[in-house]
Amino acid sequence: MKGKKKDYLLLKIATIFLVILFLFIAQRSFDAYILRILNLSGIYVILGVSLNLINGFTGQFSLGHAGFMAIGAYASALLYMSPELKEVNYFIAPLIWPFSVIQVPFVFSLIFAGLLSAGVGFLVGAPCLRLKGDYLAIVTFGFSEIIRVLFNNLQSITNGPLGLKGLPTYTNLWWSWGIAIFTIWFIKNLVNSSYGRALKSIREDEVAAEAMGVNLFYHKVLSFVVGAFFAGIGGALLGSLLMTIDPNSFGFAMTFQIIIIVIVGGLGSIAGSVIVGILFAILMEVLRAVESPMNILGLKIPGIPGMRMLIFSILLMIVVLFFQQGLMGTREWSWEWLHHKLTRTKKELEEGS
C-alpha cells in the first residue's frame, strides 16, 4: 500500500514537472497564434469544468454562465486598466469615481472578479435554486440577459455598447493554465469530498437526498457560487486575452459554447470537460478553414460564414440523441488509472522482449 502511494507521488511530481516544462517551453518559443489557441483552451477548461460542477454534478441546469463571465470580465478590467486608458475609453460619459483613479495588479483584479461574480451568484442562486429543471434554466438565462442589457446601458460604468478596447494583455499560459489546473484540482477535491457526495445525491434524487439529511439549499447554492466564482475568473482571463470586451459577446451564444463542452464531454466528468474544452478551442481555429475561401486543385470553393457553429450544433445534436453519456460519461481519469496504464505497458513490454 505504502509503495503504491509513493508511486503515485512520484507520478504526480513527474506530471507536474512535465506540465510546467511544457508551459515554459511553449510560452518561450511558440508563436502568437498557437499561444492564443493554448490560452483559449485553458480558459475553456476553466469555464467547462465550472459549469459541469453546476450542470453535471449537481444536476441544476444553468444557462447563466455568460452572465457571470461578463461580470468577471468587466470587474477585472475596471481594476487593472490604467487611469489614462480608462480616460481614453470613456469618452461619452466619464467613469464613476472610485474606479476612475484606482489600478491594482492583475492577480488582485482576478480575485475580485471571482469574488464579485460569486457574490452575484449567491444573490441569484439563493432565490432561484428553488426552481427545478427547465424553469431554473430559464431563470438563469433571464439573469444573463439582464446582465447583458444592463452592461449595454450603464454608460458610466461599463461604457455601454462601445465596450472596452485596448486592454493590456496580461493573460499568458501561466495564468490561463495555472488557473485551469487550480480549477480542476479544486473542483475534483470538492466533488470527491462529502460535499461532492451530497451534490451527486441531489442530482440523483432530490427527495431521497433531503430525507438522508442533505441540506438541499446549502449544497445547491454552494455549487452555484463556486461555479460562478470560476466563471468570473474565466471571463476576466478571456477579456484580457482578447484585449477587448464587448457586452454583446456575452450572449446566449457564449453560454451555448460552454454547454457544448459540458454535454459532449459528459455531464459529470471533469476529464471529459477538460478534453473537450481543449478540443473545442483547437477545432474553433481549425474549422476556420471552412469559413474562408479555399482553392483545391484549381477549384475555387467560396467560404461559408457561420459553418463552424453549424458543425458544432450538429455535433451537439448527435451527442444528445445518440450518445447521451457524452465522451466520458461520468468516468474520470485518476492517478490510479494512469499508474495502472503505465505499469501495465511496461510489464507487457518486458514480456514482449
Binding site: 434554466a137 439582464i146 454535454i263 450544433s313
Partner: protein, 292 residues
C-alpha cells in the same frame, strides 16, 4: 403626450399583444402535452418568414399563396423537429430533452445563417399593410387592422379545435395525465405531432404578421419575439391558452408603453421583461391562469 398619441400607442400595443399571443400559444400547447419548453419555437417562427420569402422569390408565387405554402411548410418543420429531436428522448431524463431543444434552436439559427445568409433581407407585404390611415386624428397603420383581425380568426379556430373536437379532447387529456390518457386508448404520438403542427402553424401566421410589421428578416429574428412570447406564456400560466393571450397583451403593453412614456428607460426594455419573467416564476410559478 396628447390623447391621439396615446391611442396610437394603444393600438400598436394591442396589435403587438395579439402577435405575442399567437406565438405564445405554441409554447403553451407544447408544454401542456410534453412538459417541455420548446426553445426552438422562436426559430421555427424565423424559418416561416424565410419560407414566405423563398417561395415568393424562387417560384414567384403571389403573396397569398406563398403564405399558405409557408404555413404548411412550417407545420411540417414543427412535425419533423418533434419526430427527430424530441420523440427519441421522451423517456430520457428531462435534462436531455432540454439540451435537445436548445440544440435544435441553435441548429436552426446556424442553418439559416449558412443557407440564407446572415444579412437582413427585406420582406414583401401588400401595400395595404404599410398604408397609414387617419381616424379622428389617430394615425393607424394598415397592419394594425390586419393583425387583430387575423389573430382573432385563428384564435377562435384554435379554441374550436381544442374545446370542440376529438383531437382537442385528446390534447387536453394528455396534458392532464399522460399515462392515463395512453391507457384510455389515445394515440399519444399522433396527438403530440398534431400539437406541434398547430403550434408551428400559429407561429407561421405570427411570423408573417411580424415580418409585415418590421419588414426585415434575418436568422436571429426569432430570438427576441420568441423570448417575449415565452415570457407571455409564463406570465399567463403555461399550459393555458387564455393565459397565453392575456400574457401576450401584457408583454405587448410593456414593450410599447415603456418606450412611449419612459423613453430614457427604453434601453432596459428587455431587462424589465426578463425581471417580470423571473418574478412570476419565483412567486407565482403557475402564472395568472395556470393550473396548480
Amino acid at each position: 403626450m396628447s390623447l391621439s398619441i396615446f391611442f396610437q400607442n394603444l393600438i400598436n400595443a394591442i396589435s403587438l399583444g395579439f402577435l405575442f399571443a399567437l406565438i405564445a400559444i405554441g409554447y403553451t400547447m407544447v408544454y401542456g402535452v410534453l412538459r417541455l419548453i420548446n426553445f426552438a419555437h422562436g426559430d421555427i417562427f424565423m424559418m416561416a418568414a424565410f419560407f414566405v420569402f423563398y417561395t415568393m422569390t424562387i417560384f414567384s408565387l403571389p403573396w397569398g399563396i406563398a403564405c399558405l405554402v409557408a404555413i404548411v411548410l412550417t407545420m411540417l418543420l414543427g412535425l419533423s423537429v418533434e419526430r427527430v429531436a424530441y420523440r427519441p428522448l421522451r423517456n430520457a431524463p428531462r435534462i436531455s430533452s432540454l439540451c435537445s431543444a436548445i440544440g435544435v434552436s441553435f441548429l436552426l439559427e446556424n442553418f439559416a445563417v449558412v443557407v440564407f445568409g446572415g444579412r437582413p433581407k427585406s420582406f414583401y407585404c401588400p401595400e395595404f399593410f404599410t398604408k397609414t390611415f387617419i381616424l379622428g386624428g389617430v394615425r393607424v397603420l394598415g397592419i394594425n387592422f390586419v393583425t387583430p383581425l387575423v389573430s382573432i380568426v385563428f384564435l377562435s379556430l384554435l379554441s374550436y379545435l381544442v374545446y370542440r373536437t376529438k383531437n382537442g379532447l385528446a390534447m387536453r387529456a394528455i396534458s392532464k395525465d399522460f399515462d392515463t390518457a395512453r391507457l384510455m386508448g389515445i394515440n399519444i404520438d399522433r396527438t403530440i405531432s398534431f400539437t406541434f403542427m398547430i403550434g408551428s402553424g400559429l407561429a407561421a401566421v405570427g411570423a408573417i404578421l411580424w415580418a409585415s410589421r418590421y419588414p426585415q428578416i434575418w436568422p436571429f429574428m426569432g430570438v427576441f419575439p420568441g423570448w417575449r412570447a415565452f415570457t407571455a406564456a409564463i406570465i399567463g400560466g403555461i399550459g393555458s391558452i387564455r393565459g397565453a393571450m392575456v400574457g401576450g397583451f401584457l408583454v405587448g403593453f410593456i414593450s410599447i408603453m415603456l418606450v412611449a412614456f419612459l423613453p430614457e428607460l427604453a434601453g432596459y426594455k428587455d431587462a424589465f421583461i426578463f425581471i417580470a419573467l423571473i418574478l412570476v416564476l419565483l412567486f407565482k410559478p403557475e402564472g395568472l391562469f395556470g393550473e396548480e
